[in-house]
Symmetry: D3
Subunit: 227 residues, 6 copies
């Protein structure tokens, strides 16, 4: 790890069917299904509302104010991938705009997740190329220092290995390690199986207190009602 100046060309991607299936559940369900780990910091926000995607991670490690490696990672993108960009120190510069988005899209990328800034958000919205970022910034970057592609990275508090599954929507971004992907998918499916029934009950006025049988444990925990 911390290999600088290295591009790994061969990575083991999570099976596409699994990566795609995870996306349908959304980040909240997937995060629960994982045991409540793997979530990126809540400052990671989508540049427009409504996008919900999943894909396999290709990672890139960049230096503050330097987006040179974005062009290097572009070559490593395969259809179905999501680029995850980490920076070696906090930075809000706009590393990514409409030209790079055009290139990423042409390579088959589904989204960008970047722990820094992005620009040309109006055009990116028109292109419907979703980005989750820490900031929106007009500030451009230089191309002076090399970083790495497809090494493990820490992006917005989450550890991401190349080939992991990224699930992102309006609620945030989750990373599912490749080795946990199948089992997380199963757990997510199990969670959702009876959600429809629950929703119907709650909509009819049944209380969670009764549906989940919470009255007794609450009383045991000492809850008192006062009239």
């Amino acid at each position: 790890m911390y290999e600088l100046g290295v591009v790994h060309r061969n990575i083991q991607r999570t099976e596409a069917a699994i990566a795609d299936a995870l996306g349908k559940f959304g980040s909240a369900t997937v995060h629960e299904a994982m045991g409540r780990v793997g979530l990126m910091a809540t400052y990671m926000r989508p540049i427009y509302a409504g996008a919900q995607v999943s894909g396999t991670a290709v990672t890139v490690l960049l230096h503050p104010g330097d987006n040179w490696m974005m062009h290097v990672v572009a070559e490593q993108i395969r259809p179905g991938d999501i680029v995850v960009a980490a920076i070696t120190a906090p930075c809000t510069d706009g590393y990514f705009g409409d030209l790079l988005a055009t290139s990423f899209k042409a390579r088959g990328a589904r989204a960008l997740v970047i722990d820094a800034g992005v620009r040309d958000v109006k055009t990116l919205t028109e292109m419907q190329f979703p980005v989750w970022s820490k900031a929106i910034s007009s500030k451009g970057t230089i191309k002076a220092t090399i970083g790495s592609v497809n090494v493990p990275v820490v992006c917005a508090d989450a550890l991401v290995h190349p080939g992991d599954v990224i699930v992102a929507d309006d609620d945030g971004v989750v990373c599912v390690p490749r080795a946990m992907a199948q089992r997380t998918l199963d757990a997510a499916a199990a969670r959702e199986a009876n959600e429809g029934e629950k929703r119907q009950k709650l909509a009819s006025g049944v209380l969670g207190l009764d549906m989940y049988k919470m009255r007794e444990p609450l009383e045991k925990a000492g809850l008192r009602y006062i009239d």
Copy 2:
């Protein structure tokens, strides 16, 4: 105050007609009418633009990362209420999602105001169930520790008693104490009475300097014009 493990079932709600009428003025006018107090911190943002609501507060005090009491407060909701959720320490976890929203809505709640995170925002937006929160987060919560319902709470810098009026819109969230509700309503109405006329004058090019007769006090305060 600071009663832990207590649910007050009988609270004195502000009269519905007053609570409803306050909502029409919006948070900025109501906040002015109160003498510029009672405003929640500006980090409280709506999950979607355009919602404008008012209602009577039912309050819930929760612990960080624990949403057990959300189910307890659900039972205390009456039509026209807004749930105000405070946490005993800073937390951005997603305490509330589409299932709880379904339940709250079925009970007659008009909105949730929470000094923490919320999730399933896409679904909440489709349901048109408005939420004002500090964060959006996929992170779920546990159900291990009891808090309280319908005790006074500090939510995002504002003190809220059960039965107070909450007014929330794109500009923010204001709490009007029950004892001040009628007088605040009167003051708000008085404020707005001549706004239409003012707006027309300003639109026609009349300056606030003249309309509000500010030139003399400004000169007295020492303002100098330089050509």
Copy 3:
């Protein structure tokens, strides 16, 4: 500088044709064309998405929680201006709402850029009067202390002189000094001249690595590929 209590009535505005032309390029291109300076802090966000404007700056320096000078600056607005409001200490209060917007618009202002809060954002959105601000807040302000109009100000990290050009869009806000406006316009035009061609190439799958001939310098910098 730091003249308090002064209103400069005669300022040298950048030529309207130049100010207007700069707006078409957007803040990111203009910022690059300036050599990556002049950008306001990324916390300056538009109250609604999609606005893209440029204009000549009239500046106002206000005190925390006091918007008296907003009425003074209104008189100095000419068609094509953008008001740039700076505060002498950090403040999130709502200095500006629909009445002032009506007045500013009637005077010909195109936008407000304020390093503080704004309110009535729903109405401002309906009026399509764009504002870039640090916060949205219902909190009103008093009218007790005089500041200055059309003095140099520091607004959200950027130095703005009256008559400079402001370019603002979804990516942020840039200030172009009057003396640099023509040359920045030329540089921006040059930058964009061949963007269309580049975009087409990238869309067809050509990599930036090849288009920008980066492979050799990357290799020289030590980049290694591992299979």
Copy 4:
């Protein structure tokens, strides 16, 4: 509540013996003894390390950038009091310096707790007049708008009534409501009673796992050891 322009001269202070005794336990123990409520935000920091005080609260509500009421509250201070200053909107200005500290000290105040800024910290340190504040700032304030003295205030997330007990040290600031003071004192004393013995055991190498008999509940919760 939210009375503006009011000074309450007669408040019910917690008994001095209780207020003093609570201070000896420090904020962490007192906070635990209260059931983990009443703590101010962690951004409240002492201007110098090592101070540990308690006292009865006299409260003051001020407006952003305006310290007029600091002179009003000074008259209401009695020996053993701690002044708790809240602001109606976020502000970092320096409301308090060496002259006011001289006055407060002469009146018998033990400390200032302020949800804003303070200045002259070098002199205050030499005077050994402790202050817990959100910021340190040279910025002075005006005297234009009246607030209130001895009304309930929200200070750094905590609700403080006049006469409550404030306990402050390097770990933070806690407010103990008057009605809970005796029982909190008892609980704090009970907590500390066997701390010495525990400390000795732990120092000798006994593990908390054994001392608190945690091994069984941890195993029940599913904890697995892997060699």
Copy 5:
């Protein structure tokens, strides 16, 4: 302004006697004497307590993560100067450590004021070379892009021209423009002239309410006392 790649060798420094005299008053008094402008953001903190300095500004504009120009500015330092370092985008990297401090000190610099990070703070403290900074960070910087020396810069919200006076102490950092230096010094001296007498009165228990004759204006403003 915004000249990039330029070093101004000849700047007009404020007279040394004035710069030195201002330092004796400290940042709070000087800031008041200026009319409450010119203060840097409160996030600018000294790396150790107790330092109080003043001097003439030599300025340097750097790029994020790049400290090359620190070596360029070193040559422009004259005895009695304070280096003011601004960055073109937010950055917390450690631009400055013990080697540069040794060089700056040898050139006669009294302090560094930097809107970014600093490192080797233990050694700097031992050397008693004071630094006011936004952050402390081990992160080093590269030397790839040129900036400017002795151009006007915006540092932590304050506009600083080369030759201005910097006054820094535990309360913060103020910049006094050269043209205002003499008059600010006079105003500061006037402010302090009768502070000793005031302090003595307050120490003896006289209230500010009486000393400043505030009772009448407070009553006029509507302040009411309740027993």
Copy 6:
């Protein structure tokens, strides 16, 4: 990775001689020697100034507001270790106080690095048990949910594996992966070898411009001097 409910008892620690030797260089030199990676966020601050330590990491993953696993990790500490505590979501609660410090110290721990809060800082300072933390907070924690010990964790933006070397001082905290420890030590030693000579030169007035032969590259980069 992300094993929840697991305690790894056998970890491969970096050789003690290497871990100890790295500490002598301090975090800035070590961070440079690693190629400028591995640094924790700058919000991680020591609770008292002057501590400089290194040691082998034992890691613990905790839930927000829950310090149960702190007792579990205590048993895994061996002399020379530093405990690195990560939380699954942002939290400022005080997870650690004087009792746990007594236990950790008895087990041979040299320090705690925690991405959350700590309390009893006065006692910890007297004990000279150093802690680097995100916050200081009186707020206690519960013991309800199990996490993990000696799994890889993300702590304050840095990835830490059990057995890695932690170097911490007033400048911050760096994690050196076990596999890089020897080579980082060599690089750090090489960096410092000629620092003494450099320091002497700079102290005598030689400029970095000359010592590092920067004049020519600066000129090539376009730097212009103006008299």
